[in-house]
Each structure stands twice: as structure tokens, then as C-alpha cells.
């Protein structure tokens, strides 16, 4: 998808600052990307990967559980903290998780946009709006852990 189309989908994106960092790839989605998996699409549906031990439902609790399994715990602040990795879960108007972003070393965020490209965006607000809703939960873990 062109940058222009991304900017139409996410009206805050251009002003916040971003760059496209990969080609489009239908094989993985944002939650997979957040934990470092570029091979599988994670979703609690037949035909897709969903981690064992996590409720097979599209709920915030299930998403939080995924990241707890990966060593994260809920926190309040999205700001960069030395020695910590952070993720942010977005929810739509119905409270259903719609997106996950992962913080990178310089405090920016990386996101896989559906089946499209990976992007780096300067703020979490860059992707807030009609498409993904709002950031509802930040989680963090010690940065020595794997992606």
C-alpha cells in the first residue's frame, strides 16, 4: 500500500512521523510481529496460530495473557524506560483488541499494519483513530528477554 493510502487510513500518522520498514507480507500480523514472529498469523481461529494456554477468544484478557507468557506485565507509562521493552495494545470501540505496537530502542514504535508493511512511528497516537481505536494497555518487561 502506498504511503498516501496509509496516511488516509491513519490521519495522525504523517504529522506524528513514520517510515515504512518492510514489504507487505500476508503471513504475519501485528501481534506476531510484537513478539518477533514473522512466519505466522496469530489469531484464535481455525487455520491460524494461537499460543497454547491462551483463551481462544478475541479479548483484551487473551491478548494480555499472550504478553504475560512472554514476560510482560501491565504498566501505565508508554515512555521509554532504560532496560525495559514495551508493547501497546489498541482496542476498538467495542473493546476488542485491534492492534499491537512494540517499542524500539529509541522510544519509537514498530507496527505491522494488518497484511501490509511494517512501519516505524514516532508516537502511539499516530495509529489512533477510526481504524485501530485507542491505546488501552501498555505492558513492559526487562529488555534482556527475547523479542
Amino acid at each position: 500500500m502506498s504511503a498516501k493510502n496509509l496516511e488516509n487510513l491513519f490521519p495522525n500518522l504523517k504529522q506524528a512521523g513514520y517510515r515504512i520498514t518492510s514489504q507487505a507480507d500476508v503471513d504475519y500480523n501485528c501481534v506476531a510481529w510484537a513478539v518477533g514472529d514473522t512466519r505466522q498469523w496469530w489469531e484464535p481461529l481455525p487455520g491460524f496460530y494461537w499460543p497454547p494456554g491462551v483463551e481462544k477468544e478475541h479479548s483484551l484478557a487473551a491478548y494480555i495473557r499472550i504478553f504475560v507468557i512472554h514476560g510482560y506485565s501491565p504498566c501505565d507509562a508508554a515512555e521509554l524506560e532504560p532496560n525495559y521493552q514495551k508493547i501497546a495494545i489498541y482496542v476498538d470501540a467495542d473493546g476488542i483488541p485491534s492492534h499491537v505496537a512494540r517499542q524500539i530502542g529509541d522510544g519509537k514504535w514498530t507496527s505491522k499494519i494488518g497484511e501490509l508493511e511494517d512501519i516505524e512511528h514516532n508516537t502511539l497516537g499516530a495509529l489512533e483513530g477510526e481504524a485501530y481505536g485507542i491505546v488501552f494497555q501498555i505492558m513492559k518487561r526487562k529488555s534482556s528477554a527475547n523479542p
Partner: protein, 126 residues
Amino acid sequence: MNESVATIPMESLRLPLLNGVLAETHLIAEQSQRVEELFQRLADQWRKETAHLSLVVKKVMHPAYQRIIGLGPAAIPLLLRELQQQPGHWTWALRAITGEDPTLPDDTVTQAAQAWVKWGQERNYL
């Protein structure tokens, strides 16, 4: 044998029959063309409006996707052609229409698309 029928020249029987078959073939081709055009319009709309979504459950609930499923068996070769050109989340529609699933549990989206293309080739859809 009825004499009146026996005296009708064969040519006069063949021509209306041939015309009828041609008209029916033309009608089927026209309908097929209309289905294909509708499919392309719906598929383009669906891609444009859902490619950014991270949940397949939302993608497949899009009205355009549901209408494609509603096209029924006529959509099978069109869906398979889409998958042949580019892997995508069409397998849900194919499962819904055909009641079959040639994929393996651990398949990636790309591998699932390849399994469906093979399924279609074996059944002469492609």
C-alpha cells in the same frame, strides 16, 4: 411414424436447435462475465477497506467478503485465481463455499493459498 414430422427436412429442425444452444451459451457467458465483474469490484473494495486489519475475523465479516461468499460455486475459480496471483485471506470463503479444507493445521497463509491452488488444479477449476 407421423407422416407430417417425417417430411420435415432435417435442416429446418437443426437450425432452431442450434440457435437455441447458441443463445443459451451466450446467456451463460454473459452471466459469467457479470459474476466476474461483480467479484472483481467486491474483491477490490474488500482489499482496500480491510488490508490494514489485523484480525481475520473482522476481514471476513466485511459486507463485500460476505457478498463474495454469497456468489456461491461461481466464485470458486475466481477465488482460486486470486490466490494463484497473490496469497491472501480467501481461504475462509473457499471453505465456506466448498465445505472442504485442503490445508494443514500448521500452514502459513501462503502455504494455505498454495494448498487451495493445488486443490483447484486437481479439480480443473484452474
